[in-house]
């Protein structure tokens, strides 16, 4: 069906508003996202965080290459470099040298640098995937609760309270402890990674869910939602086309802030021995082993600890910068 747009000629002479004529020139408008990006580019601290994250992600992805160039295979023993009586690296500084950038692991003499590099893979993989899962569930639940309200909101909100009150660590320890070696077509550490992602991700959604629900509650009162409705828009259209674009900012910010939480959670589980199993290196696992030896081999504890610290800090700095750049109140 076509609408006749045969406007009478006289209809085309509406007087333009004063000040409009001068607005010619550039025709492409700047979206709020572009403005936020410009603001973020001026935030050095956030950019530094972003840069560190970029390096970490590249290192994790290209871990085999990095290790080939700068280290030794992560599971290769170098017992010849270990002092047999003390069980730590011969020489000063825990064996730090051009050959072993972070020194050697006590007892078996594995290359600490390679193990920290490979540890980034597990840590970031689990944190990213778990955050993605939390975000997907949290965003969906938050929008649905906030938009539809009523009993749907009540049910989802109570569910969020329930999840937040859950003794997650204890539950995770119990659950991961009984993971079989095979299941769902996966086996060994692949299965463990999948389980960790599901457990961490599934219990993390209420954090994002609450924020999205709150934002949706206020967005749904805005008149552009009524405008869409008065044009005959259905709920899915309003949620996807009208609300979601306005939720990108909080989703982005809280995703960035949930990742470091999940890095820490994965490290804690590995520290407690219920994460990914050795010999696959994990930061938490290394810390756990190092905690018994830190007086004689401080580098064994310092480097994985530093890796966790830098990762968490970088994500938090970027997240805070994003929040400032996207803050609607600053607009």
């Amino acid at each position: 069906m076509t609408v006749p747009l045969d406007l009478p000629d006289s209809a085309r002479r509406a007087k333009p508003e004063a000040g409009l004529a001068g607005m010619g020139g550039t025709i492409q408008g700047r979206s709020l996202g572009q403005i936020a990006w410009l603001r973020l580019r001026r935030d050095r601290v956030a950019l530094a965080g972003g840069l560190v994250i970029l390096v970490l992600v590249l290192v994790a992805i290209f871990a085999p290459l990095v290790v080939r160039l700068l280290g030794h295979p992560p599971t290769e023993f170098h017992e010849d470099l270990i002092d047999p009586s003390l069980q730590v690296a011969r020489g000063p500084r825990g064996g730090i040298s051009w050959d072993f950038l972070f020194g050697l692991e006590p007892v078996n003499g594995r290359d600490l640098f390679s193990r920290v590099v490979y540890g980034a893979r597990i840590s970031l993989l689990i944190a990213f995937l778990a955050t993605l899962l939390s975000m997907a569930i949290g965003t969906t639940m938050g929008i649905v609760a906030g938009y539809f309200g009523g009993w749907i909101d009540t049910v989802i909100s109570r569910l969020m309270d329930l999840f937040l009150a859950f003794p997650l660590l204890l539950f995770a320890i119990a659950l991961v402890g009984v993971i079989p070696d095979h299941g769902f077509g996966l086996s060994g550490n692949t299965l463990r990674v999948a389980m960790l992602v599901v457990i961490i991700g599934f219990f993390g959604w209420p954090y994002i869910g609450r924020i999205i629900r709150g934002q949706t509650l206020s967005l749904r009162e805005r008149e552009f939602v009524d405008a869409a409705r008065s044009l005959g828009a259905r709920s899915p259209y309003i949620i996807v086309r009208e609300l979601l674009p306005n939720l990108v900012a909080p989703i982005l910010v809280y995703t960035t802030l949930l990742i470091p939480t999940n890095v820490l959670f994965e490290a804690a589980l590995s520290f407690l021995g219920v994460g990914v199993q050795p010999p696959t290196p994990t930061w938490g696992g290394m810390l756990s082993e190092a905690s018994r030896l830190y007086t004689i081999a401080p580098n064994f504890m310092i480097f994985p600890g530093l890796a966790i610290f830098v990762t968490v800090l970088a994500f938090n700095l970027l997240g805070d910068g994003l929040r400032d750049a996207l803050d609607p109140r600053a607009r």
Binding site: L5, R12, P245
Partner: protein, 338 residues
């Protein structure tokens, strides 16, 4: 769809009510109701502009949302263009939405900040699956030109425009589907006074060009003076006076209208002297618990015991002039209309 002959009623409303339940407690039981709209009767004829005027909180926006069926009435009926739309489901309502559009009060909230002007003004075509002869972009640019905006600004975002320009964008969106009826909810109250006249004039021009019927909502009588054909004055969810524009402005009959009118500046100093300025005293009572009988009696300087006991019906005192008051103001002796 039937098109009533000019002069016929495009929209008629009778006994229209909207009560918002007030819920309390854990089990959210109903403890009362906000009687936002509490029994409206009026009709709007094709091609006219009817103004709906009243203080903030008297139920104007709620009425507008009922007419556009963003809300479902609690009672009464709304007949639009021969269709009873009172309780139509959203899916049955959808095709009719082409003919009824709404201009919103707040131009800062009525445009999605994440969409370009092109997306916003083109949304009606997409939502109603209407194909345009030369594509949506062309249609949108024609609409922008029609409302006095630069069609080159198609790709700009709402935050790059002033309040007046934003309101024009909103107006362009309502025109996209060439509606028959436009409900404009305080279309200029959020704008600078200097811009208000421009937007009102634009609405008047568009009405001539596109043969539109308007229900224009305003909170004071001066805004609609030049655009309205008839004026309905609303107080706490009910109509207290409904009259032709000239008749109402020349001789308001309801005390509330008189009070509202005294807030309107009078052009001629000679007449200004004749009229005492009446200040409305006291707060507007809560629509949760409106005063019985005449709802205005708590603030009316003419109130008598009967006003607290019997509700004055809206009756036609002179042709085309309806008033709901036991003691309406007298018509002043015939003086040359000013």
């Amino acid at each position: 769809m039937s098109t009533p002959e000019p002069g016929g009623a495009l929209l008629s409303v009778s006994g229209l009510r909207k009560h918002f339940p007030v819920r309390r407690g854990l089990i959210r039981h109903t403890v009362g109701a906000v009687k936002a709209v509490d029994g409206l009767d009026f009709a709007v004829t094709t091609g006219e502009t009817m103004a709906l005027v009243g203080e903030s909180g008297c139920g104007k926006t709620t009425t507008g949302r009922l007419l556009t069926r963003l809300l479902e009435p609690t009672a009464g009926s709304i007949v639009f263009d021969g269709h009873d739309i009172t309780h139509l489901s959203q899916s049955r309502m959808r095709p009719l939405r082409r003919d009824i559009q709404m201009i919103f009060q707040d131009p800062y909230s009525s445009l999605n900040p994440r969409h370009t002007v092109g997306t916003i003004v083109g949304a009606p075509y997409r939502l109603q699956k209407v194909r345009t002869e030369h594509g949506v972009k062309r249609a949108v640019q024609e609409l922008l030109e029609l409302v006095g905006l630069n069609p080159e600004h198609y790709n700009r975002y709402p935050h790059e425009f002033s309040g007046g320009q934003r309101q024009r964008i909103g107006i362009a969106r309502t025109l996209a589907l060439r509606p028959k009826l436009i409900v404009a909810d305080e279309p200029v109250s959020a704008l600078d006074v200097s811009i208000q006249a421009q937007v009102i004039n634009l609405l008047a021009d568009l009405q001539d060009e596109l043969e539109l019927t308007y229900v224009v909502i305003a909170h004071d009588l001066s805004v609609v003076r030049h655009i309205a054909d008839r004026v309905a004055v609303m107080y706490l969810g009910t109509l207290v006076e409904l009259a032709d524009r000239d008749s109402l402005y020349a001789a308001p009959r309801h005390p509330y209208t008189v009070a509202l009118m005294s807030a309107v500046p009078i052009p001629e100093p000679s007449r200004r002297l004749q009229r005492d300025r009446i200040r409305l005293t006291g707060d507007v009572p809560s629509p949760l618990n409106p005063p019985p009988a005449c709802r205005f009696h708590t603030r009316c300087w003419k109130a008598q015991p009967v006003c607290r006991q019997t509700e004055p019906p809206l009756v036609e005192l002179t042709p085309g002039h309806q008033v709901a008051c036991h003691f309406p103001e007298d018509v002043p002796p015939a003086t040359p209309a000013g």
